[in-house]
């Protein structure tokens, strides 16, 4: 791969150049909340979110699997249509998309979602959006904030899932490492912003990666976690945390890997047109495992609380060989009841 150098002060220029050719999504503040939003110029981008240790509240999931998403639209004739329209408006953006400033843990999170939605029946709605998106990641050289535990979940050094990785090699310079054709194209298409890499830059890059290696510490051991969680099925630990939990579902919505959704129906007032939407659902909600005839496979709150952990730390590793957690710490940051996923796991492993 042909890596290039971009100066930090040229980053706004890069974003402005990208906005001409792409729909650009970058970190901004929306009413004091750090968030990924569509930007029209670099002046809207909050670079301090990238470089001053903050994660947007909602992960890039919100681009591919937004809170509400149209699956298809249809026409209604006497209640039942003769045929459903092809998925027409699922791809709301006509341009290709760039998400700028995705942290490595979020790159891993997108990777988890992509695998799940590509597996089995590949999901057109998700993948059409995903496949026309270029992800420009900004590397972390240290834990970004106190709730970050990406090293523990080994998600801070993704080998794929991004198109360009920007790593700070000095206060004024970043190295841009492409990782796909889409990424190479970015470096090629804006030649005035990228310069050749020098010997000194290469050394600085190696130093930066060494620094990264040194800075990141694991908090607890993930090896054997699946067995620990599974063996703790009857543990009192679940009860302890269930008693604190509000079951508001916030943790599942801010989670970069929580992918569960429900499907609902929107009909126009004249009853002629409608659309089917999918909407975020949460396994913490009482009706998640409810079936016709009112049988609920997870009747108690404790079962629901435990299930999320079983799914993330037992089921997904067994099925896909990755945890349903990238250690971004959002669920810790945004839990109104102050539940810390690390505490739950540490207690299960027996190191707390």
């Amino acid at each position: 791969m042909l890596s290039k150098i971009i100066s930090r002060q040229d980053l706004p220029k890069l974003i402005d150049a990208l906005t001409n050719d792409f729909l650009v999504i970058a970190p901004t503040y929306d009413k004091k909340v750090p968030t990924f939003s569509e930007v029209e110029s670099s002046s809207e981008v909050e670079f301090d979110i990238l470089f001053n240790e903050k994660l947007p509240m909602l992960p890039p999931k919100k681009v591919f699997l937004p809170a509400k998403q149209t699956v298809f639209k249809y026409n209604l004739i006497k209640g039942v249509t003769d045929s459903c329209d092809e998925i027409s408006d699922a791809v709301t953006h006509n341009k290709n998309v760039v998400i700028f400033g995705v942290s490595p843990c979020d790159v891993s999170g997108v990777g988890v979602l992509e695998r799940i939605f590509r597996d089995n029946y590949s999901d057109d709605v998700f993948l059409r959006l995903h496949d026309k998106t270029t992800i420009i990641s900004v590397n972390c050289l240290d834990h970004c904030y106190e709730n970050c535990f990406c090293e523990t979940m080994s998600s801070n050094d993704p080998k794929s899932g991004y198109d360009v990785m920007l790593t700070e090699i000095s206060k004024s310079k970043l190295i841009a490492v492409p990782n796909s054709d889409k990424g190479k194209k970015i470096l090629r298409d804006y030649p005035e912003l990228f310069s050749q890499i020098s010997e000194k830059d290469s050394e600085a890059y190696i130093d930066a990666l060494n620094l990264k290696n040194k800075n990141f510490k694991t908090e607890f051991l993930v090896e054997g976690l699946a067995s620990h969680v599974e063996d703790s099925f009857e543990s009192e630990i679940w009860k302890e945390f269930t008693e604190k939990c509000l079951f508001c579902g916030s943790c599942t919505f801010v989670c970069p890997t929580c992918y569960c959704y429900t499907v609902k129906e929107i009909v126009s007032v004249d009853l002629k047109d409608g659309e089917r939407q999918r909407e975020w659902d949460s396994c913490y909600f009482p009706e998640f495992a409810l079936v016709a005839g009112d049988h609920n496979f997870r009747e108690t709150k404790e079962q629901r609380f435990r299930y999320r952990y079983l799914h993330k730390f037992v089921d997904l590793p067994r099925r896909y060989n990755f945890e349903g957690c990238v250690g971004c710490g959002r669920c810790v940051t945004y839990c109104p009841a102050n539940i810390d996923v690390r505490d739950v796991l540490k207690k299960i492993i027996g190191v707390m």
């Binding site: 919100k62 008693e243 939990c245 509000l246 007032v269 909600f285 109104p336």
Partner: protein, 269 residues
């Protein structure tokens, strides 16, 4: 559709805000009138017919015997009866009186000499008097939820209300969590969503007008409110504001919170 469904919209004790809210459906009202015949809507029109109704929407709570009788009569004329708004569904703000000494409330309201002249019984949501087929929530009623109900009825189904807390919609909109980050007493975690997190989206706390969400975690919510500095009186007020006759609110208040707030006295029938 062979003939258009006959619809009635009536009000009992409440502020009539729900009916006003339906009138406020300006852009959709004409389309709606193409789908249904509104035969009874005393707030909006004259020449009202008293049934029979395919769907009857009822606003307000029931506060005296006379209203009870009237509601029972209406029920017999309605194929489907729908409670709209907090008062009809959970008693509304006036249900606070159910948790206070009735005599004292009456004296404060009507004066010592008049208390026997006023026949105010307990404040009842309409489901304590008649069978309710469906609930449309919010204070005043969410006009789009009202519209959805009519649409679904015509298509052949019944809409399901979102059985999850306001937090879902707050996160969906990317709102700041004012409960967590600013210590503002927001009831969002225990309140049924559907309002698209209206109040929190403007930095205001959810004050609970849509009633309890399924299996609402009042214990945990109240514990957090105490930690954030709310007084016992405040907490009672927050919980009781709209939903005095919500089953979960009632159980929490009388089985658990009564030990903290000794002023709570529930008026049995």
């Amino acid at each position: 559709m062979a003939s258009k469904p006959q619809i009635g919209i009536v009000g009992f004790t409440g502020c009539a805000g729900c009916q006003l809210s339906i009138l406020d459906l300006e852009n959709e009202l004409l389309d709606l009138l193409g789908l249904v015949d509104i035969i009874d809507f005393r707030m909006a029109m004259s020449g009202n017919k008293k049934g029979p109704y395919d769907i009857l929407f009822v606003e307000g709570s029931i506060v005296n015997k006379h209203q009870e009788e009237e509601l029972k009569e209406l029920r017999e004329k309605a194929k489907v009866l729908v409670a709209i708004g907090s008062c009809a569904s959970f008693g509304g703000p006036q249900a606070i009186r159910n948790y206070r000494d009735n005599k004292k409330t009456k004296i404060a309201q009507y004066g010592k000499d008049n208390i026997d002249k006023v026949e105010v019984i307990k404040v009842k949501p309409i489901n304590k008097v008649v069978k309710v087929d469906h609930y449309l929530l919010e204070c005043p009623v969410n006009k789009y939820e009202f519209l959805d109900f009519v649409k679904y009825y015509l298509v052949g189904g019944t809409p399901t209300l979102p059985n999850y807390p306001v937090c879902q919609q707050c996160k969906a909109k990317g709102n700041r969590c004012i409960f967590l980050e600013d210590g503002i007493m927001c009831m969002g975690p225990v309140i049924q969503a559907g309002c698209d997190a209206l109040c929190p989206s403007y930095g205001m706390p959810c004050d609970g007008c849509r009633g309890s969400t399924l299996e609402a975690a009042y214990d945990q919510q109240v514990q957090l409110m105490i930690e954030k500095g709310a007084s016992v009186e405040d907490i009672t007020r927050y919980i009781l504001k709209y939903n005095g006759e919500d089953k979960q609110v009632h159980e929490f208040l009388m089985e658990k919170w009564k030990e903290q707030d000794k002023k709570l006295v529930y008026q049995e029938d």
